[in-house]
């Protein structure tokens, strides 16, 4: 908090001159970056189409309402599939992510090289969105639930492993010391000392991921992964916007219920 002297009168300023300049320079760089990026996007955009956006919106809303509620009858199967994709994908992810996490945690990994392998699995799984995984899988094994389930599982492995291995690294080492001093083997230290400590955290992680997976599985059908997204895609392609609004309502309903269930169960176990 420097004080400058201007015309013989001391003036308080929040920053000194250099800080002020640097701050403004920072703002300038940020502004220029955003402007340059925007110009690039503007160059890629056909503004002619943007101009009639208000009409398009009005048209879209007009077609969406009233929703064709009778269409709901044909969605229950898709809804069931959607839940299954999320749940089975999460279950498969659990099976894979537990060993990966133990390999990745510094205090349980058997070897440094194995730790790097585990980290590689985690990073690649986490960096690729489940929709991209689904695109690849649909191309390889064909459209359907299976592709969706595997895509969800592949994306979730990285998420669950990362959070689990961080939890493992944070366990209280004292009880582990006590077990070791009683002559426990490595496997016994894991089952008696580490598992009880990380189990609640892991259950929370899994439920959280299941909630996220429910959201993802509503759209995975857009690329052929099965579930309600298939109907969404079909309705959009057929320009049946009154059905689309029904599907949107269904998705919101499912997402809200899943979030509620996940929060309730997490509350119950902790």
């Amino acid at each position: 908090m420097p004080v400058d002297v201007v015309h013989g009168v001391p003036v308080w300023r929040k920053r000194n001159r250099r800080q002020t300049l640097l701050t403004y320079l920072g703002y300038l760089i940020a502004a220029v970056t955003v402007l340059v990026a925007f110009r690039f996007i503007s160059g890629q955009t056909l503004w002619f189409f943007v101009l009639d956006a208000p009409e398009q919106v009005a048209d879209l809303i007009g077609r969406m309402f009233p929703p064709r509620w009778s269409y709901t009858q044909r969605l229950w199967g898709a809804l069931w599939d959607t839940i299954n994709i999320a749940t089975l994908g999460t279950l498969i992810a659990i099976v894979i992510s537990v060993p990966v996490a133990f390999l990745a945690a510094r205090n349980t990994t058997p070897h440094r090289v194995l730790r790097q392998v585990a980290m590689l699995i985690i990073v690649s799984s986490r960096s690729v969105n489940s929709l991209i995984w689904a695109l690849l899988l649909v191309s390889v094994i064909g459209p359907g639930l299976l592709a969706g389930v595997i895509a969800i599982a592949l994306r979730s492995v990285g998420f669950c492993s990362k959070l689990l291995f961080e939890a493992i690294e944070e366990v209280n080492p004292r009880p582990l010391e006590a077990l070791a001093s009683a002559g426990a083997s490595g496997g016994q230290i894991v089952t008696y000392g580490i598992t009880p400590q990380v189990l609640p955290a892991f259950a929370g992680i899994v439920l959280f991921r299941w909630d996220i997976n429910i959201r993802s599985s509503t759209v995975i059908g857009l690329v052929g992964g099965g579930g309600i997204g298939v109907q969404l895609n079909a309705s959009i392609n057929a320009l049946q916007w009154s059905q689309v609004s029904v599907i949107f309502a269904m998705i919101i309903f499912l997402v809200v219920v899943a979030e509620w269930v996940s929060a309730k169960v997490r509350g119950a176990i902790q």
């Binding site: 955003v34 340059v36 990026a37 503007s42 890629q44 191309s139 094994i141 299976l146 690329v223």
Partner: protein, 271 residues
Amino acid sequence: MSAVAAPSRTPPRWHPKPAIRNPWLRYGLLLGGLVYLVLAFATIDVNWNRVVQGVDRARVLFAGLFRPDFMSRYEFIQIGILESVAMTVVSTALGVVLAIPFAFGAARNIAPLPVYLVCRAIIAVSRSFQEIVVAIVFVVMVGFGPLAGVLTLAFGSIGFLGKLLAEDIEDIEPSQLEAIVATGGSWFQAMAYGVVPQIMPRFVGLSVYRFDINFRASSVIGIVGAGGIGGALNTSIARYEYGTTSAILLVIIALVYAAEYASAAIRKRVQ
């Protein structure tokens, strides 16, 4: 190994306590879980012929991963990446600016009830829909291209930042705000001196985090034509050009990792 001799006649008086005490509930849940699993797996009907065909493709894909082909679609990849980065920058800036009023509006301790309800509703809608669904709607509105992507990501950012910031504002130390109000400051002055300093570090941290999330999302929404690298990825897969596919995947992984790393580093410095 055993120092204490093997099984004796007296049965052990102790059994580990089961996690669920009521045996009906315990076995009921177990049975229910099994039935669900069987039913759920039954819904996956696998076209085995198609899967067998897929083995060959999987092999090509995997081979491609080790021989990524950056060159044959160089133009597409380059434009896609530039679009993704530009979309991320603009949408994050736009989203952050737009999220601020929503955050204040959605904080119960500051906003009047009607404003609060409207803001919360918009935030809830924004958070319920996946980016890809929002992208479809925006593509219909403004046509194909990165502008739809920018709007999509900005919309998502409003929900994300609005909700988390609103929670922070609700958690502020009320005495500090009271003190500013007591000095006779106007509403804006009270916000600027009583609220903003308290939430600033979190605000910067969340914005940087959202930048990271927007970048990840920007690689996907291209699938429905909202710009970014996703479009090129989609095309390469549709044409079975797996060399290009793996090149794009590698670029995505590298960039996502870099963005995450940078975001974590900045957040650490701010907090």
